[in-house]
């Protein structure tokens, strides 16, 4: 049993034993109940810890290992090649266009997704009849199967598809959306924006409903216009949600694969070949698992840098962040 005067979890000086200066204090063995508590805690986190180790750390370590090797799957050979894959990465003539396409796609997605989500949230944050129906309509694409959603859009965007059919009604001869470089990228971005805008919209809606009414009323009393109210009161107060959605959207935009595979297969040319699509091509279609792993490390580094950057910049633009 612990001494009644001992604060649990903290080392105590035994009575009658003077501590001598210069000698490190003797570590006292934690009491049995503390050890039991610690064990219980470890048992509680063990499944999560095991999951992280097995599904995150081990694969991550293996990706690093694979990037120093080349693996011929069919022949069953595995060869250490040192930094060859990294040198190939630096000399790869396709890397610059692929990174450029990735940047355009991510920037377009983030800007349009966040802007549209915020606009929809503001519009749907009103007490009008049937508002729940509209919220459901805008959220519903989020729960639709991604591939089914993309296939439907691929038909709509064909040269003789539904979008151009609608344009013809108003006398406009639409482009061949998925076959021309600039429109293909725009089409992929729009399809992805409509797919996921509902998720960010719901988050913004929740944030908007958390903006204190009295702050807005006080601003109105002080003579703030609607525009000032939005930019000076609402936006700062929902800035933590803007930070969250921007991180989620940027990271998500860097992981888009199925939409590209179904809509454009990376074309025309390689104009819509984003980094993940290129990575999967190299690793699984061309069987360059080592180079594919190197590209995966590049993607990991990009996501890490962007996330750290956003996290650091939050102090500048997120309201009540110290």
């Amino acid at each position: 049993m612990a001494d009644a005067t001992t604060i649990p979890g903290r080392a105590a000086t035994r009575p009658g034993v003077a501590r001598t200066g210069g000698q490190p204090p003797r570590r006292r063995r934690p009491p049995a109940y503390a050890r039991r508590d610690a064990l219980t805690g470890y048992l509680f986190i063990a499944p999560q810890l095991a999951g992280i180790v097995l599904f995150v750390l081990v694969p991550l370590a293996l990706v690093v290992w694979y990037s120093f090797n080349e693996w011929n799957v069919l022949a069953g050979t595995f060869r250490f090649v040192g930094t060859e894959n990294f040198e190939k990465l630096l000399a790869d003539p396709k890397l610059a266009p692929v990174l450029s396409a990735t940047g355009v796609f991510s920037a377009g997605l983030v800007v349009f997704n966040l802007a549209l989500a915020l606009l929809l949230a503001v519009m749907l944050n009103r007490r009008v009849r049937g508002i729940t129906v509209f919220r459901t309509i805008f959220f519903s694409p989020v729960v639709v199967s991604l591939v089914a959603w993309t296939i439907v859009w691929s038909f709509l965007l064909q040269d003789n598809g539904g979008i151009n059919g609608l344009l013809q009604v108003i006398g406009v001869d639409g482009p061949n959306w998925l076959r021309e470089g600039p429109t293909a990228m725009a089409a992929v971005i729009v399809v992805q924006v409509f797919k996921n805008v509902g998720l960010n919209m719901v988050l913004f809606l929740a944030a908007l409903q958390g903006v204190p009414q009295e702050v807005q009323e006080a601003a109105r009393v002080d003579g703030a216009s609607d525009r000032q109210l939005f930019w000076r009161i609402t936006v700062p107060l929902i800035s933590p949600t803007i930070l969250l959605t921007s991180i989620i959207t940027i990271v998500g935009s860097l992981q888009v694969y199925a939409q590209i595979a179904v809509l454009t297969q990376g074309g025309p040319g390689i104009s819509t070949t984003v980094l993940v699509y290129y990575l999967v091509q190299q690793a699984f279609d061309f069987h360059h698992f080592g180079y594919g792993s190197t590209l995966a490390l590049l993607l990991f580094a990009i996501v890490l840098v962007l996330t750290i950057l956003q996290w650091q910049l939050r102090r500048r633009w997120v309201f009540y962040e110290n």
């Binding site: 097995l54 599904f55 081990v58 694969p59 293996l62 290992w65 694979y66 693996w71 011929n72 799957v73 069919l74 022949a75 069953g76 050979t77 595995f78 965007l157 064909q158 040269d159 003789n160 598809g161 061949n176 959306w177 998925l178 076959r179 021309e180 297969q265 990376g266 074309g267 025309p268 040319g269 390689i270 091509q281 699984f284 279609d285 061309f286 069987h287 698992f289």
Partner: protein, 427 residues
């Protein structure tokens, strides 16, 4: 090879590998010869095909009690080879696999497949010598061993919608052929006339869709063109013959509009086009909604020609029950079962390439169509082009050819760019 397997297990099935290691104490028990389960990957999910496979497998298991299960595992056609190789990488390779002709060089030359000569020639009733030399050419390894059975040798043919042709005031396909007009120029003219008068499409190279460019071989062979030299070392996309063939296709898509342009689809079997080039196995898609005919590929400037698509069944050499899988393959493809399979998959057996056998198993086709189109197509057909690293070459060509599918394309320049793109991968 050993290290690759260990890393495979660690990388792609880390949890499973660790769990199994813990349970088994680190030693893999030998598979008992009396409890063999075989798995074959296939790309058909057609219920009739699968029912036929199952019936053959059941018959095999009746006489081979050591084999307790044979599973046919359909994988989507679009990603078939990628999924198969990913399964191999993940340590869950099938015992047997269908292999597409464009992936054949990679599988055959890598040593991934078990040589089959001894197994298939062990039984004199199997008729190993009956296998056509041209049909098996793609499936021999460097030492000359047969490493896959070409179970489907299907010629590319032209289906014609005679109703649409009549609607446009044109002669039927058979009449075109009888008039000596069965050539690509005449087909393109007829297609353009159908398009302008009915709004339906002219001719469709099925499954090309401006991405699967190797299907265009069914056209450019008529110009005597090929994507690379016979030894596979030199790109010939920029040859004059190929330029002329692509000028014809470009003209058809953008000037005459006898072929649907990029991003436009038309399904012949739904009555949306006058002609389509595809394999005869697609005849099963015909529902009797319109009058149709089956003809050989139209003549090109170089005269008559024919092309075949092929699929082989191979046994993965590293499988735990590779010999049992090879024994099953010998049964699956013996003369009796080959005859059954012939109703869907044209066989490589010389003795079965006759009107009687094929007419009995292909009720959709008339004996005349089989005699005039199918059999000559198989006997004289050249296999669709293939090369090692076909996926990477295919992607490079697709990417470079995209520049050609615009109205004002520089055709010779684009085809030169194709060669620039794939030259490093050839040879």
């Amino acid at each position: 090879m050993r290290s690759a397997k260990v890393l495979t297990g660690l990388g792609l099935a880390a949890v499973t590998a660790l769990g199994l290691a813990a349970c088994s104490g680190g030693s893999a028990p030998e598979t008992p010869a009396s409890d063999i389960e075989l798995r074959m990957t296939v790309w058909t999910s057609n219920e009739d095909h699968l029912a036929l496979f199952d019936s053959i497998a059941d018959a095999y298991m009746e006489d081979h009690p050591e084999v307790t299960g044979i599973t046919f595992d359909p994988l989507p056609f679009e990603d078939y080879t990628t999924t198969l190789t990913t399964q191999v990488a993940g340590g869950s390779a099938p015992d047997l696999a269908w292999i597409l002709e464009n992936a054949a060089p990679d599988f055959v030359q890598s040593g991934a497949l078990l040589p089959l000569d001894d197994t298939l020639s062990a039984d004199p009733d199997y008729g190993f010598d009956d296998l056509s030399e041209s049909a098996t050419a793609l499936w021999h390894d460097d030492s000359g061993s047969l490493v896959a059975y070409p179970f489907s040798t299907s010629p590319f043919v032209m289906f014609a919608n005679d109703d649409l042709l009549k609607q446009a005031g044109l002669p039927t396909a058979a009449e075109m052929q009888a008039n000596g007009d069965w050539n690509w120029d005449a087909v393109s003219d007829a297609g353009a006339a159908v398009h302008s008068s009915t709004g339906k499409a002219g001719f469709v190279i099925r499954d090309f869709d401006y991405t699967t460019w190797d299907n265009l071989a069914s056209v450019w062979m008529g110009w005597g063109a090929a994507p690379w030299s016979e030894d596979g070392a030199t790109c010939t996309f920029d040859s004059p013959e190929m330029v002329e063939a692509f000028e014809f296709l470009h003209d058809a898509a953008f000037a005459k509009q006898s072929m649907p342009g990029p991003g436009t689809t038309a399904d012949f079997f739904a009555g949306e086009s006058a002609f389509t080039v595809t394999q005869i196995s697609r005849a099963s898609l015909l529902k009797g909604d319109f009058a149709w005919n089956l003809l050989p590929l139209p003549e090109g400037p170089e005269g008559e020609y024919s092309m075949i698509g092929q699929a082989g069944i191979g046994v993965l050499a590293d499988g735990a029950d590779a010999q049992a899988a090879a024994d099953f393959l010998a049964f699956f493809t013996n003369p009796e079962n080959s005859e059954q399979l012939a109703q869907y998959f044209p066989p490589p057996r010389e003795s079965q390439l006759n009107t009687e056998t094929l007419a009995a198993t292909n009720p959709t086709l008339t004996p005349e169509q089989i005699e005039d189109v199918v059999i000559p197509g198989i006997q004289t057909g050249v296999v669709r082009p293939s090369h090692t690293d076909s996926a990477e070459i295919g992607q490079e060509v697709r990417s470079a050819l995209d520049a050609l599918w615009v109205a004002d394309a520089d055709i010779p320049g684009t085809l030169g760019d194709v060669c620039t793109a794939i030259d490093p991968l050839l040879g």
